[in-house]
Symmetry: C2
Subunit: 213 residues, 2 copies
DNA sequence: GTCTGTCTCGGGCAAATTGCCCGAGATTTC
DNA sequence: GAAATCTCGGGCAATTTGCCCGAGACAGAC
């Protein structure tokens, strides 16, 4: 029986132990490497050429979605199973668009993860049921994730606004006038259909633009 | 050698596997039960009377801090190690005040967790270095968590504001005038020293007043 | 009893911001 | 090279904020 190689990427050591217990003891799978951030994930992939990568998308430093994109750029046939806490339609869509093969939440049954890994080996995409439901709900209630309706600049400004930066500081940071920041602020709220600034924060959080501490 | 009993509480199955690998294989410790939410954590504690509880504080449904309080109410000598992703001074202080013996973040070295468990058996409190630092930083920059500086009513209004409710809806909900809501809004911001509404959301999140999805 | 403190609720008003519309360069896309 | 899209900001009325004030309620202190 062929044994497939796996590398795991997660920033929490205890979670990596969990993967080992789950994946390594599975006949047919073998963990050949571990990484705890996006950069070393990429390095490990290049060095070890594993059959599958299992990774969280919330990592210290660069976003895991970036890591997915990066790895797929290097090797278009890479199989990447995203395994994360975030039950967010927007997050999932971003990951899939970036090139993830599957998207599974950590509250799923461990069996689901194993199935997703074997599925990925055969190029099958698995998305856990809770995420499917979230995506469906999202599609019904609105148009897409909403994030895609914003221009890059608007996304950038939203990011700063949601962090709690005052218009003044944003204007400095981006070297534009406060007036422009305010205009964008207004535009962003009306595009996303939000009434208050607090809602913007929640949006940024749900969408994965920002991460809760 | 006496073997101490442990129950683990976490809503992610894979993380629970990680605990098993870490704790169960440790000579002197044995996992006798698992729970995935606050209610069953309490039930398990009553049924199994373990020597230590290792639990995350962000659980589906009721907050883990409540679970800590509940368990300590039932058995004042219970040893509870909080093991969580949240690197937040306010969160840690709340957990400790609720009766947690130790507070360790998931990005800590696994050894730290084991040490905290054995420490807890002897009644020692262990707080991981990153949290200590966060608390120190907090104490220096402000006075306490800040939440205690707000009146009950202000806390209530903050809660609604941080959820993203417009002043109008808050006024309705609380049956007061919009003007009063606005005055409180201003007061809250100046008491807490915040400049923007987005910062209020982060404050509510860090302080445990609200929980991120 | 009265006094003092704190909380809640809101009025008032100048200063600042929002909501909304507009136009001009720069870039992209076809 | 025409059309579409971004980005940047001006303008201006309507609203909100920042800040100060007073009144009624209710606690505990003396």
């Amino acid at each position: 029986m062929k044994e497939y190689s796996v590398i795991i990427v997660d920033d929490h050591p205890v979670v990596r132990e969990g993967y080992r217990r789950l994946i390594d003891l599975q006949p047919g799978l073998k963990i050949v490497g571990e990484a705890e951030d996006a950069r070393s994930a990429y390095a490990q992939f290049r060095d070890l050429q594993p059959d599958v990568v299992v990774m969280d998308v919330t990592l210290p430093g660069a976003s895991g979605v970036e890591a997915v994109r990066h790895i797929r750029q290097y090797d278009d046939s890479a199989r990447i199973v995203v395994f994360t806490m975030h039950l967010s339609a927007a997050f999932a869509l971003k990951a899939i668009k970036a090139g993830a093969t599957s998207y599974i939440t950590k509250s799923s049954d461990p069996k689901t993860l194993i199935e997703a890994i074997f599925g990925a080996l055969h190029g099958r995409t698995v998305i856990s049921p809770d995420v499917i439901e979230a995506i469906a709900r999202d599609r019904i209630s609105g148009m897409g994730t909403g994030l895609s309706d914003l221009s890059p600049r608007q996304t950038e400004i939203l990011c700063l606004l949601a962090r709690g930066w005052p218009a003044e500081r944003i204007a400095e940071e981006l070297a534009i006038s406060q007036k422009t920041v305010r205009n964008n602020h207004y535009q962003i709220k009306s595009i996303l259909g939000m009434e208050t600034d607090a809602q913007l924060v929640w949006f940024a959080l749900e969408t994965g633009l920002l991460q809760a501490v």
